[in-house]
């Protein structure tokens, strides 16, 4: 307990770092994933995207992280600890999000697309007014599910000395006689952040369901 109290300022700093790093990674990888899912067309592009998502969904996060932190400097790209963590998690997150949105796009009722065309909508207008609103409904749950897991994945960044919550926890453990409290505290912090994402998703999808009815308008 004593160590937790004395280390609290460092913990608060670490929590803040974890939150903004997570928010930044989530935003960038969501946008990149969306762009890839929407705009990579044609057989060759699709195949390249599949290879990319296959690699980064398949590799252990720690391997990608260590590669960015230890291997990239060898070829002259030194991003530092936070920069490496950011790059690694964006590479991984983008791969997942691209797949999530690609699946979501495939689930949009093709009749809504046909209707948009019959109303004279061009591709960009259709994307903005019809496809993305439908995609938001279909993909919000898998998207948030990945993000909630992603919060915990950030604890791996302690391996490359990013001063986030797990890093401070491990340092504190070294000088503490009460490891249980520290570990439970760290767990609670990650669980709380993941819970915020999960609760937000519940509220958001519930709101959309009440307002707009079932996904795809319940058309049969």
């Amino acid at each position: 307990m004593d160590v937790l109290a004395t280390q609290m300022p460092r913990f608060l700093q670490a929590i803040w770092l974890t939150i903004w790093l997570f928010a930044l990674i989530a935003t960038v990888s969501t946008l990149l994933g969306l762009v890839l899912a929407l705009f990579v067309n044609g057989p060759r592009g699709r195949r390249a995207l599949s290879v990319y998502t296959w690699i980064f969904r398949g590799l252990p996060e720690l391997v990608v992280l260590l590669f960015c932190f230890l291997a990239l400097p060898r070829i002259g790209i030194d991003l530092g600890a936070i920069g490496s963590a950011f790059l690694a998690f964006v590479l991984i997150g983008t791969a997942f999000h691209a797949e999530i949105f690609r699946a979501g796009l495939a689930a949009i009722d093709p009749r809504l697309i046909e209707t948009s065309r019959s109303l004279g909508m061009g591709r960009m207008l259709m994307l903005r007014r019809v496809i993305i609103p439908q995609l938001a409904r279909i993909s919000v749950t898998p998207w948030a599910t990945f993000l909630a897991g992603n919060v915990k994945m950030l604890s791996l960044a302690s391996a490359v000395s990013v001063g986030e919550v797990m890093m401070v926890t491990r340092q504190s453990l070294a000088i503490s006689s009460d490891p249980m409290t520290l570990i439970l505290f760290a767990g609670a912090v990650y669980a709380a952040m993941a819970s915020v994402v999960m609760v937000a998703e519940l509220l958001l999808s519930g709101l959309m369901r009440r307002r707009y009815g079932p996904i795809n308008g319940g058309m049969t």
Partner: protein, 258 residues
């Protein structure tokens, strides 16, 4: 032939193969301004594909579509006849708008927003002007009280009437109806058919794929009977349906009246 004298829409030799299926095998007909044309035929006879070829949602493999005397869907490029690009078809589609069997309202928009969407976003007309017109259109389909409702809150009949208002909001020259009452319960068909009757009496040009023989007989000026991708019989519905000259139409009339 000037644009106003000739037929509004003329179709000649239309052919379409989907997969291995030859859905349209040379279809010819014309639609005059203010005319109601009904297309009937058994399931799989090519009616819905034909309708989608008319506004080029589906591109025919062969044949010509003349709209007000001018060919649409193809462009001359260095002496070669090339399919027009999708974006060059958008303006045409706003002139010949379509109502679908499954309504296809945008689920994330209210009835009023659905009606306003194309005039505001596609045609870039001023929002206030469009709103007034959209409200008038909802009144015309007797749904003023549902303007703020989302599609999932409405009955099928209400949704289909909103869809008709949405099609009318583009101020089209002609309307295409693709079996618009087939997905509705019998008691809801009437409200949609009565809106269509009103439109016909106002002189709206309509092409309607329909299984409603009452509508075909009483509202359509002309009927086209499709069989295996061809026009098998055509003419005044009262004559054609009462005295079908081909065995195919005789069989069809028997099957829908039984």
């Amino acid at each position: 032939m000037s644009a106003t004298d000739g037929p509004l829409l003329e179709v000649a030799g239309l052919e379409k193969t989907l997969g291995t299926q030859r859905v349209l095998r040379g279809v010819d007909f014309t639609v005059n301004r203010g005319e109601v044309l009904a297309i009937i035929g058994a399931s799989g006879s090519g009616k819905s594909t034909l309708l989608r070829c008319l506004n080029l949602l589906i591109r025919p493999d062969n044949g010509r579509i003349l709209w007000q005397g001018r060919e649409v869907g193809w462009v001359q490029n260095g002496g070669k006849r090339m399919p027009a690009r999708e974006r060059d078809l958008l303006g045409y589609r706003t002139q010949i708008s379509m109502v679908f069997q499954s309504f296809n309202l945008f689920p994330h928009m209210t009835a009023l927003q659905n009606v306003m969407e194309a005039p505001v976003m596609v045609m870039k007309r001023p929002r206030d002007e469009v709103r007034a017109e959209a409200e008038a259109l909802l009144e015309k389909v007797r749904l003023s009280h549902r303007a703020g409702a989302y599609p999932h809150q409405m009955s099928g009949g209400e949704q289909q009437r909103v869809a008709i208002a949405r099609a009318l909001a583009m101020r089209p020259e002609a309307l295409l109806f693709d079996e618009v009452t087939s997905a509705l319960d019998p008691e809801l068909k009437g409200e949609v058919l009565s809106v269509m009757r009103d439109l016909a009496s106002e002189g709206m040009t309509m092409v309607s794929v329909s299984h409603e023989m009452g509508f075909v007989r009483n509202v359509a000026d002309r009927v086209v009977f499709m069989h295996k991708g061809r026009v098998c019989e055509a003419g005044d519905p009262k004559d054609v349906l009462a005295n079908p000259s081909t065995a195919e139409l005789q069989a069809f009339v028997r099957s829908v009246t039984d």
